[in-house]
């Protein structure tokens, strides 16, 4: 007779992985987007310092992505 071992994945563990993916991937996405914008913003600021405010705004716009990720993660847990 063949015995079958049933492996179960812990649902809370899967939830944690899901949450981690939500934060981690969105973090990557924000970082990538901010990298490009930040470089350009610093370049612009070097030319004209008064662009700091606008540069900061444009740079932090993609941050919303990771905030959404975080909210999703918190909702999951």
């Amino acid at each position: 007779m063949v015995t079958e071992t049933v492996t179960m994945m812990d649902p809370s563990g899967l939830k944690a992985i899901g949450a981690a993916l939500a934060v981690g991937l969105t973090g990557f996405a924000s970082a990538y987007a901010e990298k490009e914008i930040g470089t350009a913003a610093i370049g612009a600021m070097a030319e004209n310092e008064s662009l700091f405010g606008k540069g900061l705004i444009l740079t932090v716009i993609p941050e919303t992505i990771v905030i959404f990720g975080l909210v999703v993660a918190l909702l999951m847990l």
């Binding site: 606008k54 900061l56 716009i61």
Partner: protein
């Protein structure tokens, strides 16, 4: 408050022979923002600088070069009387210039000498271990001399080529000097090349290297001492003349500014015309000043501000002193335009509020408050003061929220359902159940146990903030384009939100759902009429903007996590509770201090930037245009001199 200062436009007209008096009076009053004159398409000409100008600029260049040579710093000194400084300016300046010139020349010569000494020392070093007079290295007819470095002993291979040679070799440094007959030189050179021979130039000196080096080093010490002496003299000059330099720099700068003023002014053959702006409340004062200075021969007359001019009006804030630090935050983004609401007073409340909501920790609030007060006391710089004031406002709010949240450096002050708190016997008081399982609102509010509640609460805070933005936008729009534009462009957002609210209520079966949808659609139609196609495209921003406020709890939680991790490492892992006091205790305290120092630094940056972003992106996006010109009156704020 809420509005920039009211400005007036004025022109001052007069005969050219009173131009100097007029410019003098304007400069002294420091009120009039001169509109630079542009010759294009005008029959008038730009004025010529006053004659004294070039002379004064020459002196200014001289004094500035002296200041930079001496390294004179801007420090607070006793204010001097301008007439005194003026009277001794020429003689002192020449004297100072001569004295400094002599010293600088001497120093330059000595420095060159030092450089030469360094290079001859470098040349001599390879021969230092070979005790041969340098004269013996040259002047042979039938001898070839090789001097340099080798990597291995070459004596065995050379002895194979010839027996008549003289070799000096220092094992330690690899220095080698070899004398061989000229006819064998080619063979020997080959052998040496095999031992990676590197030739050194023989310095043109006579004497034994070690003794020569001692002489050179002695000389080096002498020259260095002389340079030091000159430096002390220069330092003494700096001490003696610093006040004079600062004062005369200021005076000359003022003179240059005045003498160049005609370059900004329109003139005809015999008259001048100065166009500019000033705060309305000071109009009469300026009129009086100009009249007094010219015996009423210059005419000041107001000009109407036309519509295209509104964009050009220079902006001066009009805020109470307590709000003025926040103007720095406005300047970072761009000054308001003339017809706009100046939101400094609004962010005076909302910026510290959001910052405090994010950080909310008694410990960090106290640390940063002390830090800010200390820096404000120590540093007298005008650039730092407003920033420290903003930090202080933020910390007051943080302290308030810290008490509300009951947090101290990441430790909860009150116990919570079995988890111990920092203060024994202080238990959380449950007040209000929330729809979320396991989350009960109480005092203090445990953010870590009320995550969902806080997410919803922060979104609501966000909606309030956003609607404040729409309301301000409504007022701005009404001022600029009238009530109907305001209703369609900004009012429509209120209708849309109301529609969403009704729809939600309908979804909860408290209202017919159609009512909500109808209101929502009416809002959308208004929006399209107000903003065109752009309007509906921006509709989702209502969701993303309000969700963006969840960063208040998200960033706050991350700050708590860092702090409690530090606490756990220090007082849970390194020095567990109950273990004896010893070396580990000190280590734990070091980790604790270091960790919290790091988190304190992060506590300025993270909540600060996020609170700033919520103002700039979410809040300002709803109403603010910005880009106003700075009001920069023609004049000078004296620091080192004082007219009596």
């Amino acid at each position: 408050m809420l509005k920039p200062k009211q400005m007036s436009r004025a022109v001052i007209v007069g005969h050219k022979n009173i131009l100097e008096e007029t410019v003098d009076a304007l400069h002294k009053a420091n009120l009039f923002h001169i509109e630079d004159f542009n010759e294009d398409g005008s029959d008038l000409k730009i004025g010529k600088p006053f004659e004294s100008g070039s002379e004064v600029s020459k002196k200014l260049v001289k004094i500035r070069s002296i200041a930079s040579l001496l390294g004179v710093k801007d420090v607070a000194v006793e204010k001097q009387c301008p007439s005194e400084v003026c009277s001794q300016l020429d003689s002192s300046l020449d004297k100072l210039d001569d004295e400094l010139g002599v010293l600088a020349e001497k120093k330059h010569v000595l420095e060159n000498e030092l450089k030469e000494i360094g290079s001859s020392k470098k040349d001599l070093l390879p021969f230092i271990n070979i005790d041969l007079d340098l004269d013996l290295y040259r002047g042979y007819e039938n001898l070839a001399v090789f001097a340099g470095h080798v990597k291995e002993n070459v004596e065995p291979s050379i002895s194979k080529i010839t027996s008549s040679y003289e070799l000096y070799h220092d094992q330690h440094s690899g220095a080698v000097v070899l004398f061989v007959a000229r006819d064998k030189a080619a063979d020997v050179a080959e052998v040496l090349a095999g031992a990676s021979f590197k030739e050194s130039r023989v310095p043109v000196l006579s004497g034994v290297p070690s003794r020569l080096l001692a002489d050179i080093e002695q000389k080096e010490v002498d020259v260095t001492r002389k340079i030091e002496a000159i430096n002390t003299e220069i330092e003494a000059l700096k001490l003696k003349y610093a006040d004079f330099i600062l004062a005369s720099n200021e005076l000359l700068s003022i003179e240059v500014q005045k003498s160049e003023a005609p370059l900004r002014i329109a003139t005809t053959e015999s008259s001048f015309l100065i166009d500019g702006w000033l705060p309305t409340e000071q109009y009469v004062e300026m009129e009086r000043t100009v009249n007094a200075a010219t015996n009423g021969r210059a005419f000041v007359s107001p000009l109407d501000i036309t519509k295209p001019d509104i964009k050009k009006v220079p902006i001066e804030y009009d805020n109470p002193k307590i709000i003025s630090p926040l103007q720095e935050i406005m300047n970072l983004y761009g000054r308001p335009t003339y017809k706009e609401i100046d939101p400094s007073a609004l962010i005076f409340i909302t910026f510290p509020l959001l910052y405090g909501m994010i950080l909310g920790d008694i410990g960090y609030a106290l640390i940063l408050l002390t830090l800010a007060l200390a820096i404000k006391k120590i540093v007298s710089s005008d650039a730092v003061k407003p920033l420290m004031n903003i930090l202080i406002y933020c910390q007051v709010s943080t302290l308030f929220f810290g008490i509300l949240y009951g947090e101290f450096l990441g430790f909860p002050l009150a116990g919570y359902h079995g988890y111990p708190g920092l203060i024994p016997g202080f238990e959380t008081i449950d007040l209000l159940a929330t729809p979320f399982p396991g989350e009960v609102i109480g005092f203090p509010l445990h953010r870590t146990h009320l995550v969902m509640t806080f997410i919803v609460a922060t979104v609501l805070v966000g909606l309030l903030h956003l609607n404040l933005g729409y309301a301000v936008g409504f007022i701005n729009e009404k001022r600029k384009h009238g009530i109907s534009a305001a209703i369609f462009e900004k009012g429509s957002w209120f209708v849309v939100q109301f529609g969403i609210l009704l729809t939600v209520l309908g979804y909860l079966e408290m209202l017919p759902i159609v009512a909500g949808i109808v209101v929502f659609l009416i809002g959308v139609v208004m929006l399209v009429k107000g903003e065109g196609v752009k309007g509906p495209i921006e509709l989702p921003s209502l969701l993303s903007n309000s969700l963006s406020y969840t960063r208040i709890i998200a960033v706050g939680l991350s700050s708590i996590s860092i702090a409690s991790t530090v606490n756990l490492i220090a007082f849970g892992m390194i020095w567990p509770p109950g273990s004896p006091i010893g070396g580990m205790t000190i280590f734990a305290i070091v980790v604790f201090l270091f960790g919290h120092a790091l988190n304190t630094a992060l506590s300025i940056i993270a909540p600060g930037l996020h609170a700033l972003r919520l103002q700039y992106v979410e809040f300002f996006g709803k109403f603010y245009e910005g880009g106003g010109r700075k009001y920069d009156p023609f004049g000078y704020i004296r620091k080192y001199t004082e007219e009596k």
